[in-house]
């Protein structure tokens, strides 16, 4: 049933030795493994040496290409935590389930993990649709979900921690930057047709019109998977916006950026800012098609800080030197660490206690630099503007201060 991730015998025995040593020394301050019944009063699957967590992403189907990075990052974090002695003296064991890019399957597997397997926490979901599908399950069964993707906001649940950015964090600072550095006044909004791009563009439009005193000259949506952007590109050429603001998602990106380039809208001629392209997407689009364009993200693989250098090195050591790390992959990596810190602060795996201990927790070793959990279960984080180069990496041009997460922004609804 379970796909135990830590198959590395040496790691396991190292962990056990550490545990045995801790037990042998036996002083209260060193007793890293408190009795199971005191740290688990709600019947979660925890033994004296192990704690089980769930991992619920799409390993198959159309979303697998996006979610694989998250799966890998979470497993890396858990491996590192286990090497460092686990949580409250317990090694983390993963029960991996496949959501198969199918929202009802996500709901089914979430119930399985919470009701049958009684996992202490779940790291998973990627699309908003899958999160919406599992949310009632987590609330009903009082589970704990760490959700990694940047998303539209308008949601806050006791049972979910959102380790990606909500829409205002990703949008407002980016628009301010492009308005200031490029003197942009007119914007053309483009997106895939579902809740995240629509909500994001709603926020962008309000900010452009009310705060930047600019003008939105067009707003268009295309179905997921759409590949014919010719007519849109013609319209854009007629309107000549200062900036194209792109929230085209997934596979459509390949056609979109290639057709932009073919139509002559290269970075020299047209400024484009996107909030839906990370290193993962660039791998598919091809760096040569993205040269000079801008992405607004909280994380880029090229971030120059010691935390990130260590993270990138560990990731590449485990998954190969060609592995790329996008924004969501980094956010997924935060999940297990934030959970560990909350459990240790609470001194318990009980969901209610972990939730109560989470607000204001700071994670200083985050690859993105520094994050802090807000009482609304989102993270304080920075926004960066990256400019893409031919190799598929971004040069970070701008970094904001820490931005307060605000999933229900006043004046933007």
């Amino acid at each position: 049933m379970s796909s135990n991730f830590n198959k590395d015998r040496r790691t396991l025995s190292a962990g056990l030795i550490a545990f045995a040593v801790a037990a042998a020394i036996g002083t209260p301050s060193f007793a890293a493994a408190p009795a199971t019944k005191t740290i688990n009063t709600t019947g979660l699957k925890i033994t004296d040496t192990e704690v089980y967590v769930g991992q619920l992403h799409s390993a198959t189907g159309t979303m697998a290409i996006s979610e694989t990075g998250s799966i890998q990052a979470e497993q890396l974090a858990i491996e590192q935590i286990n090497k460092a002695g686990g949580i409250l003296g317990r090694q983390i064991r993963i029960i991996q389930e496949d959501g198969a890019s199918d929202w009802p399957t996500f709901a089914e597997k979430a119930r399985k993990l919470l009701v049958n397997d009684k996992v202490a926490a779940v790291f998973g979901c990627w699309t908003s649709a899958s999160r919406k599908a599992v949310l009632p399950v987590f609330e009903k069964e009082n589970g704990l979900l760490y959700y990694p993707t940047f998303y539209e906001g308008l949601e806050q649940s006791k049972n979910v921690f959102y380790t990606g950015q909500e829409a205002t964090q990703q949008i407002i600072a980016g628009l301010d930057w492009i308005a200031k550095t490029k003197g942009a006044k007119s914007f053309y909004l483009v997106g895939s047709d579902y809740i995240w791009p629509r909500t994001s563009n709603k926020i962008a439009r309000k900010h452009i019109e009310n705060v930047l005193k600019g003008k939105v000259v067009g707003e268009e949506y295309y179905p997921l998977g759409h590949t014919q952007f010719g007519s849109l590109i013609n319209k854009i050429k007629l309107k000549k916006p200062d900036v194209i603001y792109s929230i085209v998602v997934g596979g459509s990106n390949v056609a979109w950026w290639k057709q932009l380039k073919a139509a002559g809208l290269t970075a020299e001629k047209q400024t484009i800012l996107t909030i839906s392209v990370t290193e993962d997407e660039v791998l598919g689009i091809g760096g040569e098609n993205m040269v000079g364009h801008y992405s607004a993200m909280k994380y880029f693989q090229s971030l120059d800080n010691p935390n990130n250098k260590a993270f990138v090195a560990a990731f590449k050591a485990k998954y190969g030197k060609d592995a790329v790390i996008g924004d969501v992959t980094q956010a997924a990596y935060l999940g297990p660490w934030l959970w560990k810190m909350a459990v240790e602060k609470a001194g318990s795996f009980d969901v209610d206690k972990v939730v109560a201990a989470s607000p204001e927790l700071e994670f200083k070793a985050a690859p993105e630099g520094y994050v802090k959990i807000h009482p609304n279960h989102h993270l304080w984080s920075k926004l960066r503007i990256g400019q893409w180069d031919k190799s598929g990496q971004a040069k970070v041009l701008y970094e904001s201060g820490l931005i307060v997460p605000d999933p229900f922004p006043k004046g933007y609804q």
Binding site: E97, A100, W103, K112, V115, K132, P223
Partner: protein, 379 residues
């Protein structure tokens, strides 16, 4: 053999009793609530499969768009539940409280007119049956009266499935888009997520399914059933005998659509949400596969097929999260290659063989009957 209840033969009744015993006694005793709830979900697909046995296995009308009707039934139920879950108190955080959350996200400020009647449960139940029924009726009239059939009909049903999916996803302010309608909670104040409700809904689902089996048997046992079979095997001959083939096809297609719709509504109740991922081409084809695995000419076979395929899907995906799709593909290829008539076909073959062996043994004791027993040809 004497007919029981007018339309049921003895071994049919025995088969239904075995199914009822498995669903109502054995599974509830064997499985915990979580697994039982999953079986309940599988059974909602069995409704579609029974419908497909009628229209494909007997009527010869292959529909690759049953997801449309499953989805419509499910969406009708979901609209009612969503309205109940969106009372002003629990949606006060929205710009416009009292409307479903996805409408608020899409800047709607009032409930659209076609949502209004779904405040009524009676209307919802009627709509759940009649909207899919009517759609199937219209499609049926338009196609069969023009003698569109076979592959062309199958392709058109696929197109309809694709159109409806695009419509639902595109009109997200009215439908919830790709996310579907989520977070359904209560039915007239009764919490459908509680343990007792899950048990009750499971048994309701089983009862309705067994009722559906009786209905299907009744239809197939009647003269209409014989005509369907005749139509499937030699349509022209039936037409030349003076029957209007199109009318029978419209009827059986509409009936199959209503079966699917009931399944969809029960799905929404048991799973707690509805999304366009049940409407499209892929789920529609999956539903045909359930029927094919079970045996397209056997009502009970189709039910076991749905249970088996879905159970395999759950089992493989839990055991081999990375590889399970390959196993499923292998399973389908194996079934089609080795058991073209599905599991029911295998059983039927063996029943004949077992029967022969039994008669041979018995024949040594008693003289064989002068007239061989008449067997109904099911294949």
């Amino acid at each position: 053999m004497k007919a029981v209840g007018g339309f049921l033969r003895k071994h049919d009744l025995a088969g239904i009793l075995v199914l009822a015993a498995i669903l109502l006694v054995v599974l509830p005793l064997m499985l915990d609530l979580f697994r039982l709830n999953l079986v309940g979900k599988y059974l909602t697909y069995a409704f579609v499969a029974v419908g497909l046995v009628l229209c494909w296995g007997y009527g010869g009308v292959l529909s690759l768009g049953q997801g449309v009707f499953f989805g419509l039934g499910g969406y009708c139920m979901a609209m009612f539940l969503k309205l109940e879950a969106s009372d002003p108190a629990s949606t006060k955080i929205q710009s416009t409280p009292g409307i479903p959350d996805f409408m608020d996200w899409n800047q709607l400020t009032a409930l659209p007119w076609f949502w209004q009647p779904f405040h009524s449960f009676t209307f919802t139940l009627l709509a759940m049956l009649l909207i899919p029924g009517l759609l199937a009726f219209v499609i049926g009239i338009a196609m069969f009266k023009r003698r569109v059939g076979g592959v062309y009909f199958a392709i058109i049903t696929q197109v309809i499935a694709a159109i409806l999916t695009i419509l639902i996803i595109g009109q997200q302010g009215y439908t919830g888009g790709v996310n579907g309608m989520t977070d359904l909670k209560t039915l007239h104040g009764w919490d459908i997520r509680s343990d007792s409700a899950r048990y009750l809904l499971y048994f309701l689902c089983c009862a309705l399914l067994i009722g559906g089996v009786f209905l299907a048997r009744y239809v197939l046992g009647s003269k209409l059933g014989k005509l369907l079979l005749a139509m499937r095997d030699k349509e022209e001959r039936v037409r030349f005998s003076g029957y209007d083939v199109a009318e029978f096809k419209v009827f059986v297609f509409t009936l199959a659509a209503m079966f699917s719709a009931v399944g969809g509504a029960l799905f929404t109740l048991q799973v707690g949400f509805m999304s366009p991922s049940f409407v499209g081409i892929v789920p529609s084809i999956e539903m045909v596969i359930f029927t094919a695995v079970g045996g397209r000419a056997s009502i009970l076979g189709a039910i076991y097929g749905s249970l088996l395929v879905n159970w395999a899907k759950t089992f493989f995906s839990e055991s081999f999260p990375q590889l399970w799709l390959l196993f499923m593909g292998g399973l389908f290829i194996a079934v089609v290659m080795f058991f073209p008539n599905g599991l029911a076909g295998v059983l039927e073959q063996h029943r004949v063989r077992i029967g022969e062996w039994w008669r041979k043994c018995a024949g040594r004791l008693r003289p064989t009957p002068a007239v061989p027993l008449q067997r109904e040809n099911h294949s």
